[in-house]
Structure formats: structure tokens, C-alpha cells
Amino acid sequence: MSEVSSKSFSCEGCGAKLVSCLFCFDCSSLQSISEESDYFSALGISSEFDVDPDLLEEKFQHIASELHPDFYLNSTPQEKRLSERASTLLNQAYDTLKDPFKRADYLMSLKCKNVKWNDRVLPPTFLQEMFTLQEELDEMLENQDQQGLLKMREVLENRFQDLESGLLPSFRMLDSVEEPETVLEKLQMNLNAERYLRRLLDRIKIEETT
């Protein structure tokens, strides 16, 4: 597979090597945004699935504090606009990369731009199972079955964990195979299943907060 983690950026002004593709900390200047400015480069971390959440948070705060439009109130209109665009991009990057499933989705499209795979794949009989769970949930919500709801929540959260822990090994495999389609479909299956499980979990959480 193509490696994208080695992408490096230099400052358009002073030529220094950039931590974030959005800003030069050496000469304190905003950088123009191009197609090359992906979420990983924006946050200054390498393009791989395994991300340290603390490091991500630290990088985000550090870079965000330099890009904030409040610092550009007296700057040129171009700089003002650029700081707004850069801040938006950085926020999107952070929101996407801090969630393992969104990060996986993003990284798959980044790494495998030119590969086609079945993006609607689900585990066999999964849909029927989700429908049955939704009906059971209907019943529990109607009967105010708190014990049942707690139990279902626990079961769902465990399945989330299983799906999430399946992501990293698949990405490691993705880097080592010649034909990525099978691995991509396996990853996609996890991402799709996650959306159905999240729907169920969200319904339970809404019930808990009302």
C-alpha cells in the first residue's frame, strides 16, 4: 500500500520544516490551504490509525491557539479569511481523528483513494438482528424496563469495544498487503455495524437523560 505518513511540509515564507501544514511556528505565519492539507498534516501527526489521544489533544490545543481568528482582527482580509478556514479545518480534523471509527473511515479514504470496495457490506444476518434489537428496545422503552435497558446498554457497549479493537490489527494488515480490497471490506463492515449499534445506544441514552 502507498505510504502517506511521510508527507512533509515547508513554510512558504521562511522555508522551515512545518509541524502543522496550517501554520509555521518559526516565523508565526499562516500557510495557504491546498489539497495536500489533510487532517493528519493539519494536526501534525503521522497518517496512521494508532493515535495517542493525549498527544492529539495537546497538538490540537497548541495549533488552535495560533490559528484563532481573534488574533487576526487587525490583519489583512486575506489573513482573516485564511485563519477562519484554517481554524475550521483544524476543528474538523480534531473531531474526525479523535473518534476511532471516524478516524478509520477517513484514513481508509485517504490511503485508498483509487481503490473500490463494497461500502455497504454488513455481517451476515446482521440487519435482521438489528431490527429485532430495535423492536426489543421499543418494548423496553414502552414498559420502562430499566433493568432490560441497562443490560442491553452493556451488551451494546461490549460489542462497540469488539468492533473498535478490530480496527488497529486490520490497519496493520492493510499496510502489508498488495490487494487491499478484502481488508478494506472487513474494516468497512466494522464501520457500518458501528452505525447501527450507535443508533440503538443513542436511543437508550436519550431515554436516560429524559
Binding site: 461500502d119 455497504r120 457490506v121 454488513l122 440487519l127 435482521q128 438489528m130 431490527f131 430495535q134 423492536e135 457500518n192 452505525r195 447501527y196 449499534l197 450507535r198 443508533r199
Partner: protein, 131 residues
């Protein structure tokens, strides 16, 4: 995002909610899902002499998905299997004024009709059975 009046109407008063016995040979069941959002939709038809005499649905999803399937059950009732087979998602989009981000809900409803018909045909070994 604002829903159209027709979506709201179907959402507040969905038509034909419920289910038939899926093991009844006169019944065809279509279960489809939209992995991009986690919606799941079940649509069932009851057939007599190649005419759809009744339809039921149950959808877990957004307002547009519920409205699309509710409308689909209204439309298939009284139609022949072949007529129902030719219902296009674009007709649902038009009727409900669905915005582009909700077009997949209408696709789901069309898929559900086709899946229900296909299930009915395969269990009745019709000559034109698919799948």
C-alpha cells in the same frame, strides 16, 4: 434541515405500521438497511392473484426514511406485482420533496419494495422469481 409538510404528515401519522406473519406464503418480506446512517426498514406485502392487497412497514430511522416507507406501503396497495416493481425512488423524492441528503431514504424504500416482491416470488416459486 426543514422537513416538507408531507414528510411531517407521514412521520406524525404513519400509514400501515405493523407486520404480517413472514411465514405466510401470501406474504413477501423485504428487510433493507442504509449502512451510511444505520437506518433499518422492513416492508411487507400481502398478495392475492398477483395483486398486492395489503402492505405493512416498520422503519427505525429518520423522518424521511419513515415517510418514504409509509408512502411506499400506500402506493403498492392495490397494484399488481409488476406495477409495484416499477415504482422508482425518484417518484418518492418528488412526492415528499426530499432534499439531496435524504435521497438515500427513498432508495431504501424502493429497495424494500423490490426485496419484498422478490421474497414473495421466491417462496411461491414463480417463473419470474429472482434470487
Amino acid at each position: 434541515m426543514a422537513y416538507s409538510d408531507k414528510v411531517i404528515d407521514h412521520y406524525n401519522e404513519p400509514r400501515n405500521v405493523g407486520s404480517f406473519d413472514k411465514n405466510d406464503d401470501a406474504v413477501g418480506t423485504g428487510l433493507v438497511g442504509a449502512p451510511e446512517c444505520g437506518d433499518v426498514m422492513k416492508l411487507q406485502i400481502k398478495v392475492e392473484n398477483d395483486q398486492i392487497v395489503d402492505a405493512k412497514f416498520k422503519t427505525f430511522g429518520c423522518g424521511s426514511a419513515i415517510a418514504s416507507s409509509s408512502l411506499a406501503t400506500e402506493w403498492v396497495k392495490g397494484k399488481s406485482i409488476d406495477e409495484a416493481m416499477s415504482i422508482q425512488n425518484t417518484e418518492i423524492v418528488e412526492e415528499l420533496s426530499l432534499p439531496p441528503v435524504k435521497i438515500h431514504c427513498s432508495v431504501l424504500a424502493e429497495d424494500a419494495i423490490k426485496a419484498a416482491i422478490s421474497d414473495y416470488k421466491s417462496r411461491n416459486n414463480s417463473e419470474t422469481a429472482e434470487g
